[in-house]
Amino acid sequence: MSIGVYQPMAQSLLLAEAEQGGVAKLGINVPSLVAQVLNFTILLILLYLFAYKPITRMLDKRSEKIRESMEQAEKMKQQTIQAEEQIKAQLETARKEGQALIAQASQMGDKLKEEARKEARQEAEGLVARARSDIQRERDDAADALRREFADLAIRAAEKVISQSLDKESHRRLIDEVLTQAKTAKG
């Protein structure tokens, strides 16, 4: 690694530079340059066709879709809120109707109950009255039957008295006795 080794090389480099000029030393070469411009152009076209165009289209499509779906979601939200309000209103009316119905029904029930009670009372009263009249009649019948029996009894007693030939006094007393007896039995 001595400097001596490099001296001829450096000299030749200088010579080459003098002969060919600095541009050639850098390696500038016209066909290469044209080739690289073509390379770039080809790459530009290929990437445009295979990368930029489809991908930017896809990106646009996606952002459009996202925008759309967000709008959709917003709309849906609005609709949901509306629907909720509607449902709430409907529920409210239904509740009111139900309450009215219940009130009506209970009123009607009260009325029915009242009517039933009245009817029952009337019927009971009728029954009681009939029973009383029945009892009255039966008692009257019984009283009649008793009186008839007493009369028979009195007649028989009289027959007996007559057969024993009682005096007038005791006759009367007997009859009276029988009559009072009958009366107390009746009373």
Partner: protein, 312 residues
Amino acid sequence: MRKLGCSPLLLGLGIVIVLLLGISFINGAIGSKFVEVEAFKFLRVSQPHVSLATEPIIPLFGDHDANPLFSASITNTILAAWITIVVLVALFVLGTRKMKLVPKGLQNFAEFIVEALLNLVEGVAGKKNGRRFFPVIATIFLFVLFNAYLALFPGFGAITLREGVETKELLRAANTDINLPLALALVSFAFVEYWGATSVGFLRYLGKFFAFRNLLRGKPMGLIDVFVGLLELISELVRIVSFTFRLFGNMTAGEILFLIVFFLWAWGTALGVYGLEMLVGIVQALIFSLLTLVFAVVAVASHGHGEEGKEH
């Protein structure tokens, strides 16, 4: 220490790394001055041979030695550029083959790249102009980036062709051939001028550089306009040179740095340089594409102020 002892895997890895560092140091240019180990000699990295010009692989016409400027051949950098093109196109063809609204796998990756670039370009140039500039800007970015990164793949420069005593690499990082940065710079220049001319009108755009209008109307102060126009013209043309040498210089310097570092101490320092080169690759791709974008934005901006001045 206790933790290291508990993990045999980590310990083994550490030993391997230390061994690799040691062996590569012994075989490097620095280490071999201290110790010579015959057994490892086959691992020695040969002295780097740096050539700024690329090497022709398949000559087409013209003698390369006699006429280096016009002789045509398929060089190793053109091959590398083709590989880059094939890789890029394959990536996007596979990624966009069956496009779905809900992306998956490779489509996701392809979309991520395009979307990130598109957002960048639209952020700088606005929606309408961004869509117009985007294909060129993105292609510059991807081409430069993939040229740089593919060259970092292990084995990329390892295939050599032997020609007598000389060997030449079959593939060489495309960015390190000055023709590619120059081609990109020319393309960038051409597109910027085209966009500028179509946006503000061809004659008006030319009037920016050749501002003779006020001078012809007999206003002596029009000389300033002429001078400013010339300055604009020169700066426009100088961009080609600066674009070219920025990319070419950075990439070539990286390649040379690699060669030297591998020659000196193959393992110890190369890893750091590797990381650095990854960074340089993306930075250069960003610089090239974003500068083109900024120049394009400046070019399409209507020169309202200048027009007003001329109307008075």
